[in-house]
Subunit: 455 residues, 2 copies
């Protein structure tokens, strides 16, 4: 028994040889004396045509249903038909697992909404086969990039009592019996002896690793209990958070650019069939878009410069761009078009950014950066971290953040602290950019959104 | 600025060249006219000796404290002293981040208990530098193994409403305000509209991917809310769960053995300094133990044969071995010594195993397997899955498991189902085996155990 992937990688070797394949029937067309099965086994995007004639067990084989698991014994031959170079001429087919005629996945176009309702079957369709294999390959590209460059992979804790990040609403984790809680939960009886939550970010803990290993990255699930039902929000998603000691904001941007180009190159090289499929059926021009990114040098401009450009633009924006304020989606779009490529926007007003970002000498902005890419908007965000103990304490006091429970974080500035920086990239947002698939529900195997927790 | 790792990889190139390093002081010995700094930057296990004399800014440099972050400008030279081949002769040192004299990490032996109390600083010690780098490298070895062999990486959902696995006590995830819950939690107002938990295993969902991609694996966090305070239990840990279609119990064991040998070989090759350190200071004979594993062919025996061997053993066990029962740690130990190597124990009594395991023709045992390795006991567990719809339904009914909410899982047997198998490996249990570090709290950066959720 052989993987179809291995067969395709060594196809000339197997020509005119007997081969055995196990997999599934994607489509089945019967004629009077011939039949054609579109066969796949999930190990590569390509399927293979399996041809049988009336010298085989024709009555049995011709009745095999779509979705069935079969074992094919046959000979690999050059195909005389159009549409494929090779096919398998059947000696015998054994039915391993039948499939009823009302099987939901039929060889026709299903809507993505319908496929979400049978999420456990959708990886059997061409589109989702491609999406989730690309998800897997991109995950490995990310690990490869960081490991090849000497980073240590840090598993940030998922359950945490840290309540400081302020990145969003949190899920509570408890072993208290909610049927017995009467207004006053007794946390001394809870599993950890105190209220705990699911992490919204591993960054603060990752900083402890950066100050021991110089270069570290997280790649794990993070959670937001926000009641937002948009195409780009999920309650559970994976995030990559690199953190680098002895690295300032410029070094940080170098890494962001280098990493993104590595990933794009990797997926184009390793998933050519999938990427062609997306380009053809999901987002026309996708491969071109990605090649443009590879060939561009990312622009670096300050938030102030961006606002100036937006104010001078001869465009009627829905939201007026303002110094000191965040920018809207329409502004992001304008800016990437203005520069005709990816743009790092740096030095943001401190009041709209997180407490741990390094205060610039102007006292008004912080050494933060967002990366905006054409066609997707914000793809990553990062900053140089405030390494000055006193400045960090006073910023935390301003924001009424708890100093006691964050002593360990503050101490990183006391015990051999140094300039350090990092950034975060939402894995699913990256996948949306790389595949052209627009809805986050379609790039996560089993998405969690408000009111939705199936499987 | 250069990583110490890169310097060591190209050391002859840099001989007699000026180099710049940034990192930390691990130790500092001053003499009258000379000083020696043990310098590391976390990018490799090795540190480097930095030597300065009174032609430098001696008064300043000689006062630099342990733990401080520094920038070293110097020349790489052959060392005349013993203990190292190369050293850095200082031109100048710049202090980047000071460190107080009461810094908890001093160049002496700290107990692991003490270091757990300053978990955020322990990666700065030799032992934990080694442990968490090996953790990172082993994680990558696992991804490499599966990706090179054509597996699709599956991100199993973390929050789940599935309550069927029965692998242990679960943590509840909620957004209800516990101060307002009065005996009757109104789950219609909870985030997902129903009670949800943290996953105890991604296997059932992984099966949906195996039946689409043939070969899949998970690698993610899993959770158990068990109140056990042992050296090998944590409430949050990472697990690897491969799942393979068209693969029976024997094929499953082939993969388990092949994967484990790949990982062991990988870590010996990629972390030689760390492994030597563990062998010398943590577990004498560790490398020998691992080489023995590489050179052994794993034995395969049934549970029944094992009980027979145990019953015939001329050893007084604390627990009497019994047909139909689980085996104890002392039995595991005896069996790996008896066969002098790793042992697959197969075909376990069905009553002590999970509902989804394939019933053997004897009607009493299931096609399950545990891998026992010398010095660690059970390292992995797996099984062929029940692919027969009717048998699976009747087993679930016997155990009063909910059929309705598991319809999707059952349907995998209806819609082109096939023989398939898989196994689970606790990542931390593997790390304990590979490093010789005994306590699970010492192989997880920020361990979660009953009553303990710091950072």
């Amino acid at each position: 028994m052989m993987d179809l992937r291995v067969l395709y990688e060594n196809i000339t070797e197997y020509l005119n040889q007997e081969i055995i394949l196990e997999g599934w029937i994607r489509n089945h067309r019967k004629q009077k004396e011939f039949g054609f099965i579109d066969f796949y086994d999930g190990t590569c995007f390509k399927s293979i045509q399996v041809v049988y004639d009336n010298k085989t067990n024709f009555d049995f084989i011709s009745k095999l249903k779509i979705g069935s698991a079969i074992k094919v014994i046959g000979v690999l031959t050059k195909s005389v038909g159009s549409g494929q170079d090779y096919e398998v001429t059947v000696k015998d087919i054994i039915l391993l697992g039948d499939c009823p005629v009302d099987y939901p996945i039929q060889p026709k176009r299903h809507t993505r909404e319908f496929l979400r309702e049978v999420a456990y079957l959708r990886p059997r369709t061409n589109l989702f086969q491609a999406v989730f294999r690309v998800r897997s390959v991109v995950a490995f590209a990310i690990h490869s990039y960081f490991q090849n460059n000497g980073y240590v992979y840090f598993h940030a804790p998922i359950i945490t009592a840290s309540d400081c990040e302020g990145a969003g609403e949190m899920f509570q984790v408890t072993t208290l019996d909610l049927n017995k809680v009467n207004g006053k939960p007794d946390y001394s009886k809870d599993f950890f002896g105190k209220p705990c939550n699911l992490t919204v970010s591993g960054q603060l803990q990752a900083e402890t690793f950066a100050l021991a290993y110089k270069k570290t990255y997280t790649f794990g699930p993070t959670f937001r209990a926000e009641n937002s039902n948009t195409k780009t929000h999920a309650s559970e998603f994976w995030m990559i958070e690199p953190e680098i000691a002895f690295c300032d904001l410029n070094g940080n941007m170098d890494i962001m650019e280098d990493m993104l180009k590595y990933i794009v190159k990797y997926v184009l090289e390793h998933c050519p069939d999938e990427m062609l499929f997306f380009d053809k059926f999901v987002e026309n021009g996708l491969i071109n878009k990605l090649n443009n990114l590879l060939n561009s040098q990312f622009v670096r401009v300050t938030h102030e410069e961006v606002i100036k450009i937006l104010k001078e633009a001869k465009v009627k924006f829905e939201f007026t761009p303002e110094y000191g304020c965040d920018i809207a989606k329409e502004h992001e779009k304008y800016i990437t078009e203005y520069f005709n490529g990816p743009v790092f926007i740096t030095d943001w007003p401190k009041d709209i950014k997180a407490f741990y970002m390094k205060l610039n000498p102007d006292g008004k902005t912080v050494a933060a950066v967002d990366l905006e890419v054409p066609g997707a908007g914000e793809l990553m965000g990062g900053s140089q971290r405030e390494e000055d103990y006193d400045k960090l304490v006073s910023r935390m006091k301003e924001l009424n953040l708890p100093l006691d429970s964050m002593e360990w974080y503050l101490n990183l500035r006391k015990f051999g602290g140094c300039v350090h920086s990092g950034f975060g990239m939402g894995f699913e947002r990256l996948l949306i950019y790389l595949t052209g698939v627009e809805n986050i529900r379609d790039v996560i195997p089993y998405p969690r959104t408000p009111g939705n927790c199936e499987y």
